[in-house]
């Protein structure tokens, strides 16, 4: 069986029997050649051959609009969703009052910044030790000293509600999916869609169903953050060893006890990784959610960028990264920390030492805040700012790099990007369709072939074929550049632990630093054009490539390496002949993520100015055209889903063949 898989994925077996794959491949090639020949003779293919024919282009947008009006107005679904939203709002009002003193019940806030900083310090200290304590406490001191306290608390007031809700919902859905296979089958495509569907496409529906304001911000954040939580808890539940369950059964657990006291605690590590992912997703949404009313850092950031205050928006970016890294490290520490056990008879005070220290420090902070106003609140006029220096540095940097950037821009546009774009647009629709069918066949026979044909076919039927091809062109070129940078970086970093940690820190930073900020310097360097767009996409897209390369190379089983060493392999040989081939499946997951990140960024890069689907999405937003927005969003999602399907399938088979995992 193994051998069969290996050879079929290498394509050795393909020749023997009749297969659809070859037919599709020939078809794709034949059409391209035909078009080329007719093009050299000055003619073109008939339109129905080179573009999706008219009878296939269906008015999906109108149907969706009609359906949307029906469920929101006639069915009254709107009042139901709004009821749920007002439940969320009740929580939000409490945190808003506590954290930044919004005039809502219980009307006791805002909590002084010193108290929160001390609490963060203690949390870090209790979880891991001094270093984490200083990182956590220091983050909040930075926020206060830079005069961003109120904005940060506005943001946090939403996150502290959205994150726990996302965690609970994710966990419950995960457990349901684990218990009922059918539910998992329904849920899994929805999760895939939720993760690939661009945010701008669900903005208008959210405004209709939920409204605007912090509650809408919280709900889009939840929608975005739940999928990884579901996945991780499902994975955790599935991985619980049989022995653990048996010992639970032997001690006479009821079904309910077996679930909550045996399975869930055993799946702790996976569940907590899910928690960590939820936190990261929440922070990633800070800026986007401000489009529909999330207050705080994101909104301020957009406002500062609009006034071209890059230095000050950079400060906000630093705050978001610090928050993300703090929360990430704390939740990871929590995941790794095993429960502490004390000997019988240990006094309460010793067992709860941390709690007591925390209460003591809080009391000190409250007293300080009561007597010294600056310990309660630092006003913006009292705050520090490094914006001026940042602006100067950026200015210097742009001036210094400008000549090289100008050259690069001209070179890329004239020699590569314009021809590539023309080529993508020139490709006949049926060729592209057949080509992806062929790729699907190679990866997973008939099933994958049909999946790919369906995705590409539906994009063709959407009436946005050319726009989709432009998006495909920018994304594919960006992914290529991401690999060009990310792979060598990952290989270099994987050589030792120290380098790996350094590069992973850069990865974390690049991933959480709000992408809107670097859109501006990129435009300054390259101007509004595809080079700037690709530049912005590459900054975030190369992160997973580097990360998974490191992970893949460092995860190669040591006995394999030792075997290589014993047969006298040099370092280079062991890298090229042992490590890399074994790491390929993991690297491919990185590639998959890179494609997802690039698609995601491509839509954000519409704020630089693109001609692909992102631009049309922007246009549909101003007309509040739900149907058009949904269709465009699905086009983006389908591209992502197709690539995801192929890569996941391929790397799963490859892993099985290699005997990894």
């Amino acid at each position: 069986m193994n051998a069969f898989n290996l050879s079929s994925s290498n394509g050795l077996l393909v020749k023997k029997s009749f297969n659809l794959g070859t037919v599709l491949w020939m078809l794709a090639l034949a059409l391209v050649i035909l078009k080329f020949i007719s093009w050299t003779m000055g003619a073109g293919l008939p339109v129905w051959l080179s573009k999706p024919p008219n009878f296939l282009v269906w008015p999906f947008a109108d149907w969706i609009n009609a359906f949307f009006n029906f469920i929101s107005e006639d069915l009254g679904l709107k009042s139901l969703t709004r009821l749920f939203a007002s439940g969320v709002e009740w929580f939000l009002d409490i945190t808003a009052n506590l954290l930044y003193g919004k005039s809502r019940w219980p009307r006791i806030g805002p909590i002084p910044w010193t108290v929160i900083a001390v609490t963060a310090f203690m949390a870090g200290y209790a979880l891991r030790g001094w270093k984490l304590g200083i990182l956590a406490g220091g983050t909040f001191v930075w926020v206060a000293v830079m005069g961003q306290w109120k904005w940060t608390m506005e943001t946090m007031s939403v996150i502290v509600v959205a994150a726990p809700l996302a965690i609970v919902m994710g966990l419950l859905l995960g457990i349901l999916a684990w218990r009922y296979k059918n539910f998992e089958n329904i849920l899994s495509p929805i999760l895939n869609l939720a993760q690939t569907y661009p945010h701008f496409a669900y903005m208008v529906p959210v405004i209709v169903f939920i409204g605007v304001g912090p509650k809408a911000g919280a709900i889009v954040t939840i929608i975005f953050a739940v999928p990884p939580m579901v996945r991780m808890s499902l994975l955790g539940m599935k991985k619980v060893p049989k022995e653990v369950i048996e010992s639970g059964q032997m001690s006479g657990c009821t079904k309910r006890q077996l679930l909550w006291s045996v399975r869930v605690p055993t799946a702790r590590t996976e569940i907590l990784i899910g928690v960590n992912q939820v936190i990261m997703q929440c922070l990633a949404m800070v800026v986007l959610a401000s489009f529909i009313g999330m207050p705080g850092l994101g909104q301020k950031l957009l406002q500062l960028l609009q006034a071209l205050k890059i230095g000050r928006s950079f400060e906000i970016g630093v705050t978001i990264v610090l928050l993300a890294i703090t929360l990430d490290r704390c939740s990871k520490a929590w995941a790794e920390k095993q429960p502490e056990h004390f000997e019988r008879g240990t006094s309460w005070a010793v067992r709860n030492k941390m709690l007591l220290i925390w209460l003591g420090l809080m009391a000190v902070a409250f007293i300080l805040a009561y007597f010294i106003p600056i310990a309660h609140e630092i006003k913006r006029t009292q705050a520090f700012s490094i914006a001026k220096y940042l602006d100067d540095w950026l200015d210097l940097f742009v001036r210094f790099v400008q000549p090289a950037a100008d050259w690069l821009r001209a070179f890329l546009i004239v020699n590569i990007l314009i021809p590539l774009r023309e080529f993508y647009l020139w490709l006949p629709f049926w060729s592209v369709l057949a080509f992806f069918g062929f790729l699907g066949w190679r990866v997973g026979k008939l099933y994958s072939c049909l999946v790919c044909l369906a995705y590409v076919g539906l994009i063709g039927m959407s009436s946005w074929w050319d726009r989709s091809m432009i998006t495909a062109y920018t994304v594919s070129f960006s992914v290529f550049v991401c690999c060009l940078i990310g792979l060598p970086l990952g290989i270099w970093a994987s050589a030792n632990e120290k380098r790996a940690l350094k590069v992973l820190l850069i990865c974390d930073t690049a991933q959480t630093f709000p992408s809107f900020i670097y859109l501006i310097p990129v435009v300054m360097l390259f101007g509004v054009n595809d080079v700037a767009v690709i530049g912005a996409v590459v900054v975030s897209g190369m992160v997973p490539m580097a990360r998974y390369t490191i992970e893949g190379l460092r995860g190669v089983p040591t006995q394999m390496l030792e075997a290589g060493q014993m047969s006298g392999a040099t370092t280079m040989q062991s890298l090229w002949n042992i490590k890399l081939p074994l790491a390929v499946p993991t690297i491919m997951i990185g590639l998959n993520q890179t494609v997802m990140f690039s698609l995601f960024m491509m839509i954000i890069a519409a704020f630089i100015g693109t001609q692909g689907l992102g631009q049309e999405l922007q246009r549909s937003l101003s007309a509040a055209d739900v149907g058009k927005g949904t269709v465009l969003g699905l086009c983006v999602a389908f591209m992502g889903l197709m690539i995801d399907h192929m890569i996941t399938r391929w790397s799963k088979e490859r892993k099985a063949a290699l005997g990894v995992e």
């Binding site: 489009f291 207050p295 406002q303 006034a307 546009i413 101007g527 100015g609 922007q618 937003l621 101003s622």
Partner: protein, 318 residues
């Protein structure tokens, strides 16, 4: 515990009473907060706070919510946001009209301020193209504005596509040697401008007034054939007899206020105030300046502005 429960009931009854109140005594404003949407440019934010503080002087409570400037009309229509203070004819006219058609929102009067949105260049551009601001002169130096992606044609950097400008049509109708490239956001426009300034590279971009950019980068609008009514619909109007859009944008576009239809009944006093409010170009520029140049926080800028301009608004409150 028991008293908490009592309180809750009291609050509930009170709440019910409040929601019924507007029907009984429609002359009094509801105590629910008026929701004012704020966007990402400073004049709008300061103006929102100025108006918010005026509402507070009337005894209303006010809350601010950040929203996208295009999507906001849908929110006003639904009543989730109560009003919108800066409806620009050029940038948001389309969204506003689309929302008007669907219903739930109405026009609450114009500001005194007029807006102009058109092709614009920073002053240093004049050095390489001295014939400006005339559009024919601009066309003659088109090559000076060429970039790799536009070949030998000049490049005009337009605003985001969702502002629904007709630059490409104009280029075609007036047959000028330019290619329109659309920036995706105002921030991208300013980034190009800032980068051009470093080397004094000639650029022509989409810009508007009143705008904070005027204070940072002095410049002028390109003078296209004057806007005549119908130039966008009737080919025979304007210099080119066969094409539409053979003219500049109107130099006096409106700046409107819009309100949710329910506002009139729920907060009648505030609604009356809203219809009276009208700011002029210099006043709006002043509001923007307090934040963009003087680095004040929008709330403080609004208070400072109200303090300094009492004569402007005291009449509206009567």
């Amino acid at each position: 515990m028991k008293s908490n429960f009592k309180n809750a009931i009291a609050a509930l009854t009170f709440g019910l009473a409040l929601s019924v109140a507007p029907m009984i005594a429609s002359a009094e404003d509801s105590s629910d907060p008026i929701i004012i949407p704020i966007h990402n440019w400073s004049s709008q934010i300061v103006m929102s706070h100025v108006v918010g503080q005026l509402f507070q002087k009337l005894g209303n409570s006010v809350e601010y919510v950040s929203t996208d400037s295009q999507a906001v009309y849908e929110a006003v229509r639904q009543g989730d946001a109560t009003l919108e203070l800066e409806v620009w004819e050029g940038a948001f006219g389309a969204s506003f009209n689309a929302a008007l058609e669907k219903g739930g929102i109405h026009d609450a009067g114009d500001h005194n301020a007029v807006t102009r949105e058109d092709w614009w260049y920073p002053l240093w551009t004049k050095e390489s193209c001295p014939g400006l601001p005339d559009w024919k002169a601009l066309n003659e130096c088109a090559a000076k504005f060429a970039t790799p992606e536009t070949g030998d044609k000049g490049r005009f950097l337009g605003g985001p596509v969702d502002w629904l400008k007709h630059d490409a049509e104009r280029v075609d109708a007036l047959d000028i040697n330019f290619t329109v490239v659309n920036a995706g956001s105002a921030a991208a426009l300013w980034a190009e401008l800032a980068s051009a300034e470093k080397t004094k590279r000639p650029v022509v971009i989409f810009n508007w007034t009143p705008n904070f950019v005027e204070a940072l980068y002095p410049g002028e609008f390109v003078e296209f054939p004057k806007w005549v009514e119908g130039c966008n619909k009737d080919p025979s109007v304007g210099p080119n007899p066969d094409k539409t859009y053979d003219c500049g944008n109107p130099a006096t576009g409106y700046l409107k206020k819009a309100a949710w239809d329910g506002m009139k009944d729920k907060w009648p006093k505030a609604h009356t105030l809203l219809t009276k409010i009208s700011f002029t170009n210099p006043q709006i520029a002043e509001m923007a300046k307090l934040v963009d140049i003087d680095e004040m926080e929008p709330e403080d800028a609004a208070s400072a502005w109200l303090k300094a301009n009492e004569s402007v608004w005291s009449g509206w409150l009567k």
